[in-house]
Protein backbone atom coordinates (compact mmCIF):
# COMPACT_ATOMS: atom_id res chain seq x y z
CA UNK A 1 0.00 0.00 0.00
CA UNK A 2 1.39 3.38 -1.02
CA UNK A 3 0.33 6.10 1.41
CA UNK A 4 0.03 9.68 0.13
CA UNK A 5 -0.61 12.36 2.74
CA UNK A 6 -1.58 15.92 1.78
CA UNK A 7 -1.16 18.67 4.36
CA UNK A 8 -3.61 21.52 3.80
CA UNK A 9 -6.87 21.47 1.85
CA UNK A 10 -6.83 25.00 0.50
CA UNK A 11 -6.44 25.76 -3.20
CA UNK A 12 -3.40 23.58 -3.88
CA UNK A 13 -4.24 20.68 -1.55
CA UNK A 14 -7.75 20.39 -2.97
CA UNK A 15 -6.48 20.44 -6.57
CA UNK A 16 -3.93 17.72 -5.80
CA UNK A 17 -6.45 15.53 -3.96
CA UNK A 18 -8.81 15.72 -6.93
CA UNK A 19 -6.11 15.08 -9.49
CA UNK A 20 -4.64 12.11 -7.64
CA UNK A 21 -8.00 10.47 -7.00
CA UNK A 22 -8.78 10.87 -10.67
CA UNK A 23 -5.46 9.29 -11.65
CA UNK A 24 -5.48 6.45 -9.10
CA UNK A 25 -9.16 5.60 -8.66
CA UNK A 26 -8.53 1.94 -9.42
CA UNK A 27 -5.52 1.61 -7.18
CA UNK A 28 -7.44 3.25 -4.34
CA UNK A 29 -10.40 0.92 -4.85
CA UNK A 30 -8.05 -2.05 -4.94
CA UNK A 31 -6.45 -1.04 -1.63
CA UNK A 32 -3.05 -0.42 -3.26
CA UNK A 33 -2.91 3.29 -2.58
CA UNK A 34 -4.44 5.65 -0.01
CA UNK A 35 -4.81 9.42 0.08
CA UNK A 36 -5.22 11.29 3.35
CA UNK A 37 -5.82 15.03 3.63
CA UNK A 38 -5.18 16.98 6.84
CA UNK A 39 -6.56 20.46 7.56
CA UNK A 40 -7.79 21.99 10.83
CA UNK A 41 -10.19 24.46 9.21
CA UNK A 42 -13.43 23.04 7.74
CA UNK A 43 -14.09 26.16 5.61
CA UNK A 44 -12.62 26.80 2.17
CA UNK A 45 -12.25 30.51 1.49
CA UNK A 46 -12.20 31.91 -2.06
CA UNK A 47 -9.35 34.32 -1.31
CA UNK A 48 -9.44 36.32 -4.57
CA UNK A 49 -12.90 37.50 -3.45
CA UNK A 50 -11.29 39.32 -0.51
CA UNK A 51 -10.14 42.04 -2.89
CA UNK A 52 -13.67 42.93 -3.94
CA UNK A 53 -15.48 42.26 -0.66
CA UNK A 54 -14.44 45.56 1.01
CA UNK A 55 -16.10 47.47 -1.84
CA UNK A 56 -19.40 45.68 -1.27
CA UNK A 57 -19.23 43.32 -4.25
CA UNK A 58 -19.71 40.10 -2.30
CA UNK A 59 -21.23 39.04 0.98
CA UNK A 60 -18.73 37.13 3.17
CA UNK A 61 -20.77 33.91 3.00
CA UNK A 62 -20.54 33.93 -0.82
CA UNK A 63 -16.81 33.31 -0.54
CA UNK A 64 -16.89 30.27 1.74
CA UNK A 65 -17.74 26.62 1.12
CA UNK A 66 -17.31 23.55 3.30
CA UNK A 67 -14.04 21.81 2.38
CA UNK A 68 -15.71 18.46 2.63
CA UNK A 69 -17.80 19.26 -0.44
CA UNK A 70 -14.77 20.16 -2.53
CA UNK A 71 -12.74 17.05 -1.73
CA UNK A 72 -13.29 13.79 -3.58
CA UNK A 73 -15.03 10.91 -1.82
CA UNK A 74 -12.07 8.58 -2.03
CA UNK A 75 -9.80 10.51 0.28
CA UNK A 76 -9.68 10.16 4.02
CA UNK A 77 -9.87 13.61 5.52
CA UNK A 78 -8.69 14.44 8.99
CA UNK A 79 -9.67 17.67 10.71
CA UNK A 80 -6.58 18.42 12.75
CA UNK A 81 -3.69 20.82 12.96
CA UNK A 82 -0.25 19.57 11.94
CA UNK A 83 2.30 19.83 14.72
CA UNK A 84 5.44 18.82 12.80
CA UNK A 85 6.89 16.70 10.02
CA UNK A 86 9.43 14.07 10.98
CA UNK A 87 11.13 13.67 7.62
CA UNK A 88 13.58 11.03 8.86
CA UNK A 89 10.74 8.78 10.00
CA UNK A 90 8.50 9.78 7.04
CA UNK A 91 5.68 10.65 9.43
CA UNK A 92 3.52 13.65 10.20
CA UNK A 93 2.77 14.35 13.84
CA UNK A 94 -0.63 15.91 14.51
CA UNK A 95 -1.35 18.30 17.36
CA UNK A 96 -3.17 15.58 19.29
CA UNK A 97 0.08 13.62 19.27
CA UNK A 98 -0.92 10.92 16.80
CA UNK A 99 1.49 10.05 14.00
CA UNK A 100 0.56 9.70 10.37
CA UNK A 101 3.16 7.74 8.39
CA UNK A 102 3.53 8.44 4.67
CA UNK A 103 5.37 7.17 1.63
CA UNK A 104 4.85 10.45 -0.17
CA UNK A 105 3.98 13.76 1.46
CA UNK A 106 2.51 16.81 -0.26
CA UNK A 107 2.82 20.05 1.64
CA UNK A 108 0.10 22.56 0.72
CA UNK A 109 -0.34 24.56 3.89
CA UNK A 110 -0.06 27.93 2.16
CA UNK A 111 0.87 31.24 3.71
CA UNK A 112 -0.69 33.35 6.40
CA UNK A 113 -0.48 36.97 7.41
CA UNK A 114 1.42 37.78 10.58
CA UNK A 115 0.39 41.31 11.63
CA UNK A 116 2.08 40.77 15.01
CA UNK A 117 5.46 40.76 13.27
CA UNK A 118 5.22 44.54 12.86
CA UNK A 119 5.41 46.68 16.00
CA UNK A 120 2.17 48.40 16.88
CA UNK A 121 0.16 47.00 13.99
CA UNK A 122 -2.32 45.12 16.15
CA UNK A 123 -2.17 47.79 18.90
CA UNK A 124 -4.49 50.80 19.25
CA UNK A 125 -6.55 51.36 16.11
CA UNK A 126 -6.33 47.78 14.80
CA UNK A 127 -9.51 47.10 12.83
CA UNK A 128 -10.68 50.64 13.65
CA UNK A 129 -8.39 52.54 11.36
CA UNK A 130 -5.73 49.91 10.65
CA UNK A 131 -6.98 47.04 8.48
CA UNK A 132 -5.86 44.09 6.45
CA UNK A 133 -8.01 42.59 3.71
CA UNK A 134 -6.11 39.29 3.45
CA UNK A 135 -8.43 37.60 5.96
CA UNK A 136 -12.21 37.28 5.89
CA UNK A 137 -12.50 39.10 9.23
CA UNK A 138 -10.18 41.88 8.05
CA UNK A 139 -11.90 42.37 4.70
CA UNK A 140 -15.34 42.43 6.31
CA UNK A 141 -14.31 44.97 8.96
CA UNK A 142 -12.68 47.07 6.24
CA UNK A 143 -15.89 47.03 4.20
CA UNK A 144 -17.71 48.67 7.12
CA UNK A 145 -14.93 51.20 7.68
CA UNK A 146 -14.88 52.18 4.00
CA UNK A 147 -18.65 52.62 3.99
CA UNK A 148 -18.32 55.09 6.86
CA UNK A 149 -15.26 56.89 5.45
CA UNK A 150 -16.14 60.45 4.49
CA UNK A 151 -12.72 61.69 3.39
CA UNK A 152 -9.08 61.97 4.46
CA UNK A 153 -5.88 60.08 3.88
CA UNK A 154 -6.19 56.48 2.74
CA UNK A 155 -2.86 54.68 2.77
CA UNK A 156 -2.36 51.27 1.12
CA UNK A 157 0.83 49.69 2.35
CA UNK A 158 2.85 46.55 1.63
CA UNK A 159 5.10 45.78 4.60
CA UNK A 160 7.48 43.43 2.80
CA UNK A 161 7.70 40.86 0.04
CA UNK A 162 6.80 38.10 -0.54
CA UNK A 163 3.02 38.40 -0.26
CA UNK A 164 0.34 36.33 -1.92
CA UNK A 165 -1.18 37.75 -5.05
CA UNK A 166 1.48 40.48 -5.27
CA UNK A 167 -0.68 42.81 -7.37
CA UNK A 168 -3.72 42.75 -5.05
CA UNK A 169 -2.58 45.82 -3.02
CA UNK A 170 -2.23 47.93 -6.15
CA UNK A 171 -5.57 46.66 -7.42
CA UNK A 172 -7.02 47.69 -4.07
CA UNK A 173 -5.77 51.24 -4.61
CA UNK A 174 -7.28 51.32 -8.14
CA UNK A 175 -10.60 49.99 -6.86
CA UNK A 176 -10.60 52.54 -4.02
CA UNK A 177 -10.29 55.31 -6.62
CA UNK A 178 -13.26 53.81 -8.47
CA UNK A 179 -15.26 53.36 -5.25
CA UNK A 180 -14.83 56.91 -3.99
CA UNK A 181 -15.49 58.31 -7.46
CA UNK A 182 -18.79 56.44 -7.53
CA UNK A 183 -19.64 57.77 -4.09
CA UNK A 184 -18.92 61.28 -5.32
CA UNK A 185 -16.26 62.02 -2.69
CA UNK A 186 -13.08 61.23 -4.60
CA UNK A 187 -11.90 64.84 -4.19
CA UNK A 188 -11.98 64.47 -0.43
CA UNK A 189 -9.86 61.31 -0.38
CA UNK A 190 -6.08 61.25 -0.81
CA UNK A 191 -4.90 57.77 -1.84
CA UNK A 192 -1.26 56.87 -1.27
CA UNK A 193 0.41 53.59 -2.20
CA UNK A 194 3.42 52.78 -0.01
CA UNK A 195 5.74 50.00 -1.19
CA UNK A 196 9.08 48.56 -0.06
CA UNK A 197 10.06 48.15 -3.73
CA UNK A 198 11.44 50.97 -5.83
CA UNK A 199 8.28 51.43 -7.88
CA UNK A 200 4.66 50.36 -8.16
CA UNK A 201 5.83 48.50 -11.26
CA UNK A 202 9.27 46.99 -11.00
CA UNK A 203 9.64 45.23 -14.31
CA UNK A 204 10.77 47.28 -17.28
CA UNK A 205 7.89 46.48 -19.64
CA UNK A 206 5.27 46.95 -16.93
CA UNK A 207 6.54 50.29 -15.73
CA UNK A 208 6.72 51.48 -19.32
CA UNK A 209 3.19 50.34 -20.17
CA UNK A 210 1.42 50.96 -16.88
CA UNK A 211 3.00 53.98 -15.18
CA UNK A 212 0.12 56.14 -16.51
CA UNK A 213 -2.36 54.31 -14.28
CA UNK A 214 -1.20 55.98 -11.08
CA UNK A 215 -1.37 59.49 -12.58
CA UNK A 216 -4.70 58.84 -14.19
CA UNK A 217 -6.16 57.67 -10.90
CA UNK A 218 -4.39 60.32 -8.82
CA UNK A 219 -2.68 57.81 -6.59
CA UNK A 220 0.38 59.09 -4.76
CA UNK A 221 3.36 56.81 -4.58
CA UNK A 222 5.91 56.31 -1.80
CA UNK A 223 8.66 53.86 -2.76
CA UNK A 224 11.46 52.05 -0.91
CA UNK A 225 9.55 52.40 2.33
CA UNK A 226 10.53 49.56 4.68
CA UNK A 227 7.77 49.56 7.29
CA UNK A 228 9.15 49.40 10.81
CA UNK A 229 6.12 50.15 12.98
CA UNK A 230 2.57 51.42 13.04
CA UNK A 231 1.20 54.05 15.39
CA UNK A 232 -2.54 53.60 15.06
CA UNK A 233 -3.44 56.07 17.83
CA UNK A 234 -1.71 58.92 16.02
CA UNK A 235 -2.34 57.64 12.51
CA UNK A 236 1.27 57.24 11.44
CA UNK A 237 3.19 54.61 9.57
CA UNK A 238 6.93 54.62 10.26
CA UNK A 239 9.79 53.17 8.24
CA UNK A 240 12.84 51.71 9.99
CA UNK A 241 14.67 54.95 9.22
CA UNK A 242 11.85 56.91 10.95
CA UNK A 243 10.41 58.46 7.77
CA UNK A 244 6.67 58.69 8.35
CA UNK A 245 3.48 58.55 6.33
CA UNK A 246 0.32 59.91 8.02
CA UNK A 247 -3.04 58.18 7.55
CA UNK A 248 -6.68 58.36 8.55
CA UNK A 249 -7.30 54.85 7.25
CA UNK A 250 -4.48 52.36 6.78
CA UNK A 251 -4.96 49.30 4.61
CA UNK A 252 -1.87 47.21 5.19
CA UNK A 253 -0.66 43.94 3.77
CA UNK A 254 1.13 42.45 6.77
CA UNK A 255 4.22 40.26 6.71
CA UNK A 256 3.49 36.80 5.33
CA UNK A 257 4.79 33.53 6.77
CA UNK A 258 4.46 29.84 6.10
CA UNK A 259 2.67 27.61 8.62
CA UNK A 260 4.12 27.44 12.14
CA UNK A 261 4.68 23.67 12.13
CA UNK A 262 7.32 24.17 9.42
CA UNK A 263 9.44 25.95 12.02
CA UNK A 264 9.07 22.94 14.35
CA UNK A 265 10.20 20.50 11.65
CA UNK A 266 14.01 20.38 11.56
CA UNK A 267 15.55 21.36 8.23
CA UNK A 268 12.22 21.79 6.45
CA UNK A 269 11.97 25.58 6.13
CA UNK A 270 13.62 28.96 6.51
CA UNK A 271 13.10 31.53 9.28
CA UNK A 272 9.81 32.68 7.75
CA UNK A 273 8.60 29.06 7.65
CA UNK A 274 8.71 28.83 3.85
CA UNK A 275 9.51 25.25 2.89
CA UNK A 276 12.89 25.00 1.12
CA UNK A 277 11.88 23.71 -2.31
CA UNK A 278 13.51 22.94 -5.64
CA UNK A 279 12.02 25.50 -8.06
CA UNK A 280 11.69 23.02 -10.94
CA UNK A 281 10.92 19.62 -9.43
CA UNK A 282 8.99 21.11 -6.47
CA UNK A 283 10.55 18.58 -4.13
CA UNK A 284 11.49 19.68 -0.63
CA UNK A 285 15.25 20.07 -0.18
CA UNK A 286 14.82 18.13 3.05
CA UNK A 287 13.69 14.84 1.46
CA UNK A 288 12.88 13.54 -2.00
CA UNK A 289 9.56 12.04 -0.91
CA UNK A 290 8.19 15.44 0.12
CA UNK A 291 6.62 17.59 -2.60
CA UNK A 292 5.64 21.21 -1.95
CA UNK A 293 2.97 23.15 -3.79
CA UNK A 294 1.33 26.59 -3.71
CA UNK A 295 2.13 29.42 -1.34
CA UNK A 296 4.05 27.19 1.11
CA UNK A 297 7.27 27.09 -0.95
CA UNK A 298 10.22 29.47 -0.95
CA UNK A 299 10.56 29.39 -4.75
CA UNK A 300 10.74 32.72 -6.60
CA UNK A 301 7.32 32.25 -8.27
CA UNK A 302 4.22 34.31 -7.45
CA UNK A 303 2.05 33.11 -4.61
CA UNK A 304 -1.18 32.73 -6.57
CA UNK A 305 -3.90 30.19 -7.17
CA UNK A 306 -3.07 30.06 -10.87
CA UNK A 307 0.50 29.08 -10.02
CA UNK A 308 -0.77 26.28 -7.77
CA UNK A 309 -2.92 25.07 -10.66
CA UNK A 310 0.05 24.94 -13.07
CA UNK A 311 2.27 23.31 -10.46
CA UNK A 312 -0.39 20.67 -9.79
CA UNK A 313 -0.48 19.39 -13.35
CA UNK A 314 3.30 18.94 -13.48
CA UNK A 315 3.47 17.63 -9.91
CA UNK A 316 0.92 14.94 -10.68
CA UNK A 317 3.16 13.74 -13.52
CA UNK A 318 6.21 13.74 -11.27
CA UNK A 319 4.37 11.88 -8.53
CA UNK A 320 3.48 9.21 -11.07
CA UNK A 321 7.17 8.91 -11.96
CA UNK A 322 8.21 8.91 -8.31
CA UNK A 323 5.76 6.18 -7.31
CA UNK A 324 6.98 4.07 -10.22
CA UNK A 325 10.58 4.51 -9.08
CA UNK A 326 11.55 6.65 -12.06
CA UNK A 327 13.42 9.98 -11.99
CA UNK A 328 11.31 13.14 -11.61
CA UNK A 329 11.60 15.89 -14.20
CA UNK A 330 12.48 19.53 -13.53
CA UNK A 331 9.41 20.67 -15.41
CA UNK A 332 8.00 23.67 -13.54
CA UNK A 333 8.89 27.00 -15.18
CA UNK A 334 7.38 29.49 -12.71
CA UNK A 335 4.30 30.07 -14.88
CA UNK A 336 1.78 32.59 -13.47
CA UNK A 337 -1.31 34.06 -15.07
CA UNK A 338 -3.54 36.68 -13.52
CA UNK A 339 -6.07 39.37 -14.13
CA UNK A 340 -5.37 42.75 -12.55
CA UNK A 341 -8.38 44.92 -11.75
CA UNK A 342 -7.75 48.54 -12.66
CA UNK A 343 -11.18 49.84 -11.65
CA UNK A 344 -13.99 51.37 -13.69
CA UNK A 345 -14.86 47.89 -15.01
CA UNK A 346 -11.54 47.30 -16.67
CA UNK A 347 -8.73 44.86 -16.03
CA UNK A 348 -5.37 43.74 -17.39
CA UNK A 349 -4.08 40.23 -17.97
CA UNK A 350 -0.50 39.18 -17.31
CA UNK A 351 1.11 35.85 -18.15
CA UNK A 352 4.75 35.20 -17.33
CA UNK A 353 7.27 32.72 -15.87
CA UNK A 354 10.72 32.62 -14.22
CA UNK A 355 12.40 33.86 -17.39
CA UNK A 356 9.86 35.83 -19.41
CA UNK A 357 8.48 39.09 -18.00
CA UNK A 358 4.88 40.15 -18.61
CA UNK A 359 4.66 41.60 -22.14
CA UNK A 360 2.07 42.99 -24.54
CA UNK A 361 0.31 40.81 -27.08
CA UNK A 362 -2.78 38.64 -27.12
CA UNK A 363 -3.48 35.68 -24.91
CA UNK A 364 -5.11 32.76 -26.75
CA UNK A 365 -7.79 31.60 -24.30
CA UNK A 366 -9.92 28.84 -25.80
CA UNK A 367 -12.92 31.16 -25.48
CA UNK A 368 -11.16 33.74 -27.64
CA UNK A 369 -8.04 35.89 -27.44
CA UNK A 370 -7.78 38.70 -24.89
CA UNK A 371 -5.22 41.50 -24.74
CA UNK A 372 -2.14 41.14 -22.55
CA UNK A 373 -0.79 43.94 -20.34
CA UNK A 374 -3.44 46.33 -21.61
CA UNK A 375 -6.66 47.49 -19.96
CA UNK A 376 -9.90 46.13 -21.34
CA UNK A 377 -13.50 45.42 -20.35
CA UNK A 378 -13.08 41.84 -21.51
CA UNK A 379 -10.37 41.25 -18.94
CA UNK A 380 -12.60 42.63 -16.20
CA UNK A 381 -15.23 40.06 -17.15
CA UNK A 382 -12.45 37.48 -17.11
CA UNK A 383 -11.59 38.44 -13.54
CA UNK A 384 -15.22 38.04 -12.45
CA UNK A 385 -15.44 34.77 -14.36
CA UNK A 386 -12.41 33.54 -12.45
CA UNK A 387 -14.65 32.81 -9.44
CA UNK A 388 -16.59 30.33 -11.53
CA UNK A 389 -13.41 28.88 -12.97
CA UNK A 390 -11.99 28.55 -9.44
CA UNK A 391 -14.85 26.46 -8.03
CA UNK A 392 -15.63 24.47 -11.17
CA UNK A 393 -12.35 23.93 -13.04
CA UNK A 394 -9.42 24.90 -10.84
CA UNK A 395 -10.28 23.08 -7.59
CA UNK A 396 -11.52 19.90 -9.32
CA UNK A 397 -8.14 19.82 -11.08
CA UNK A 398 -9.55 20.17 -14.58
CA UNK A 399 -7.59 21.93 -17.31
CA UNK A 400 -8.52 25.54 -18.06
CA UNK A 401 -9.15 25.63 -21.83
CA UNK A 402 -6.32 27.34 -23.67
CA UNK A 403 -4.10 27.75 -20.58
CA UNK A 404 -1.23 25.22 -20.51
CA UNK A 405 0.76 24.46 -17.35
CA UNK A 406 3.98 25.68 -18.92
CA UNK A 407 3.97 29.22 -20.26
CA UNK A 408 3.30 29.48 -23.98
CA UNK A 409 4.97 32.15 -26.09
CA UNK A 410 2.10 32.24 -28.58
CA UNK A 411 0.71 35.74 -29.12
CA UNK A 412 3.31 37.37 -26.87
CA UNK A 413 5.46 40.19 -28.17
CA UNK A 414 8.63 39.02 -26.50
CA UNK A 415 11.54 41.36 -27.20
CA UNK A 416 14.64 39.81 -28.76
CA UNK A 417 17.38 39.22 -26.18
CA UNK A 418 19.73 42.22 -26.10
CA UNK A 419 22.97 40.21 -26.06
CA UNK A 420 24.16 38.11 -29.01
CA UNK A 421 22.79 34.59 -28.76
CA UNK A 422 24.96 32.47 -26.52
CA UNK A 423 24.94 28.74 -26.04
CA UNK A 424 24.25 28.95 -22.33
CA UNK A 425 20.62 29.61 -21.40
CA UNK A 426 21.42 31.91 -18.51
CA UNK A 427 18.96 34.77 -17.98
CA UNK A 428 19.38 36.49 -14.63
CA UNK A 429 16.32 34.99 -13.04
CA UNK A 430 17.45 31.45 -13.63
CA UNK A 431 20.77 31.82 -11.84
CA UNK A 432 19.70 31.58 -8.23
CA UNK A 433 17.82 28.39 -8.85
CA UNK A 434 20.99 26.36 -8.71
CA UNK A 435 20.77 24.76 -5.31
CA UNK A 436 24.34 25.87 -4.78
CA UNK A 437 26.29 24.81 -1.76
CA UNK A 438 27.79 28.29 -1.67
Amino acid sequence: MQRIVILGAGTAGTIMANRLVHAYRDRIAGGLLSITVVDHDPRHLYQPGLLLLPFGHYQPEQLVKPKQRLLPKHVRSIEARVDRVDADASAVVLENGSALPYDLLIIATGSQIAPDETDGMTGPGWREKVFDFYSLEGATALRDALAGFQGGKLVVNVVEMPIKCPVAPLEFAFLADDYFTRRGIRDRVEITYVTPLDGAFTKATCSRELAYLLDEKRIKLVTEFSTGRVDGANGKLYAWDETEVPFDLLVTIPVHKGADYVGRSPGLGDEMNWVLTDPHTLQAKRAANIFVIGDATNIPASKAGSVAHFEAELMAENIERFLAGRAVEPSFDGHANCFIETGHRKALLIDFNYDVEPVRGRFPFAWGPVPLLKESRLNHLGKLFFRWIYWHLLLPGRPIPGVPARMSRTGKRIPAPPAPASAAPAPAASEPRTPAGV
Binding site: V167, F201, W240, E271, P300, E431, P432, T434
Partner: protein
Protein backbone atom coordinates in the same frame (compact mmCIF):
# COMPACT_ATOMS: atom_id res chain seq x y z
CA UNK B 1 47.05 37.22 -16.83
CA UNK B 2 46.10 39.76 -14.19
CA UNK B 3 45.20 42.39 -16.78
CA UNK B 4 42.32 40.29 -18.11
CA UNK B 5 40.28 40.40 -14.88
CA UNK B 6 37.18 42.48 -15.66
CA UNK B 7 36.24 45.41 -13.47
CA UNK B 8 32.77 46.31 -12.20
CA UNK B 9 31.65 48.37 -15.17
CA UNK B 10 32.76 45.71 -17.64
CA UNK B 11 30.23 43.24 -16.19
CA UNK B 12 26.59 42.70 -17.18
CA UNK B 13 24.74 45.38 -15.21
CA UNK B 14 21.18 46.65 -15.16
CA UNK B 15 20.39 50.37 -15.54
CA UNK B 16 21.04 50.93 -11.83
CA UNK B 17 24.31 49.06 -11.68
CA UNK B 18 23.07 45.77 -10.19
CA UNK B 19 24.93 42.68 -11.44
CA UNK B 20 22.75 40.59 -13.70
CA UNK B 21 24.92 37.50 -13.41
CA UNK B 22 25.72 36.81 -9.77
CA UNK B 23 28.51 34.43 -10.79
CA UNK B 24 30.53 37.36 -12.19
CA UNK B 25 30.93 38.66 -8.65
CA UNK B 26 34.06 38.53 -6.54
CA UNK B 27 35.30 40.37 -3.47
CA UNK B 28 37.20 42.98 -5.48
CA UNK B 29 34.04 43.77 -7.41
CA UNK B 30 32.22 44.13 -4.09
CA UNK B 31 34.81 46.65 -2.88
CA UNK B 32 34.46 48.60 -6.13
CA UNK B 33 30.67 48.76 -5.90
CA UNK B 34 30.85 49.74 -2.24
CA UNK B 35 33.35 52.51 -2.95
CA UNK B 36 31.14 53.94 -5.68
CA UNK B 37 28.40 54.13 -3.09
CA UNK B 38 30.63 55.80 -0.54
CA UNK B 39 31.19 52.72 1.60
CA UNK B 40 34.47 51.21 2.76
CA UNK B 41 33.70 47.60 3.62
CA UNK B 42 34.36 46.57 7.23
CA UNK B 43 33.86 43.13 8.80
CA UNK B 44 30.31 44.12 9.77
CA UNK B 45 29.54 45.05 6.16
CA UNK B 46 30.95 41.74 4.92
CA UNK B 47 28.82 39.81 7.38
CA UNK B 48 25.68 41.36 5.93
CA UNK B 49 26.81 41.14 2.29
CA UNK B 50 27.74 37.46 2.61
CA UNK B 51 24.50 36.60 4.39
CA UNK B 52 22.52 38.35 1.68
CA UNK B 53 24.39 36.67 -1.14
CA UNK B 54 24.34 33.16 0.35
CA UNK B 55 20.64 33.39 1.06
CA UNK B 56 19.92 34.54 -2.47
CA UNK B 57 22.04 31.86 -4.10
CA UNK B 58 20.47 29.08 -2.09
CA UNK B 59 16.84 30.22 -2.36
CA UNK B 60 16.48 32.69 -5.25
CA UNK B 61 15.06 35.30 -2.88
CA UNK B 62 16.92 38.21 -1.34
CA UNK B 63 16.19 38.67 2.38
CA UNK B 64 14.20 41.74 3.46
CA UNK B 65 15.46 44.32 5.90
CA UNK B 66 13.53 42.67 8.75
CA UNK B 67 15.06 39.28 8.00
CA UNK B 68 18.51 40.84 7.81
CA UNK B 69 17.90 42.43 11.22
CA UNK B 70 16.77 39.12 12.71
CA UNK B 71 19.17 36.71 11.05
CA UNK B 72 22.35 38.36 9.82
CA UNK B 73 23.65 39.16 13.29
CA UNK B 74 23.48 42.91 12.62
CA UNK B 75 20.54 44.94 14.03
CA UNK B 76 18.27 47.04 11.83
CA UNK B 77 19.61 50.23 13.42
CA UNK B 78 23.17 49.19 12.63
CA UNK B 79 22.16 48.22 9.10
CA UNK B 80 21.09 51.79 8.45
CA UNK B 81 24.43 53.06 9.75
CA UNK B 82 26.39 50.60 7.63
CA UNK B 83 24.32 50.99 4.46
CA UNK B 84 22.64 54.39 4.60
CA UNK B 85 19.08 54.92 3.32
CA UNK B 86 18.36 51.55 1.71
CA UNK B 87 20.31 48.78 3.47
CA UNK B 88 18.71 45.77 1.77
CA UNK B 89 19.12 47.30 -1.67
CA UNK B 90 22.71 48.42 -1.13
CA UNK B 91 23.75 45.11 0.40
CA UNK B 92 22.19 43.31 -2.57
CA UNK B 93 24.05 45.53 -5.01
CA UNK B 94 27.39 45.04 -3.26
CA UNK B 95 26.71 41.31 -2.93
CA UNK B 96 26.30 41.08 -6.70
CA UNK B 97 22.71 39.89 -6.79
CA UNK B 98 19.80 41.36 -8.76
CA UNK B 99 17.59 44.11 -7.42
CA UNK B 100 14.55 42.87 -5.46
CA UNK B 101 11.44 43.19 -7.65
CA UNK B 102 7.74 42.39 -7.77
CA UNK B 103 5.94 40.40 -10.44
CA UNK B 104 4.89 43.40 -12.53
Amino acid sequence: MSTTVPTYHQLDLDAEGFLQKPEQWNEDIAREIAAENGIALTDAHWKVVRFMRDRFLSTGNAPTIRTLGKESGVSVKELYLLFPKAPAKLAAKIGGIPKPHGCI
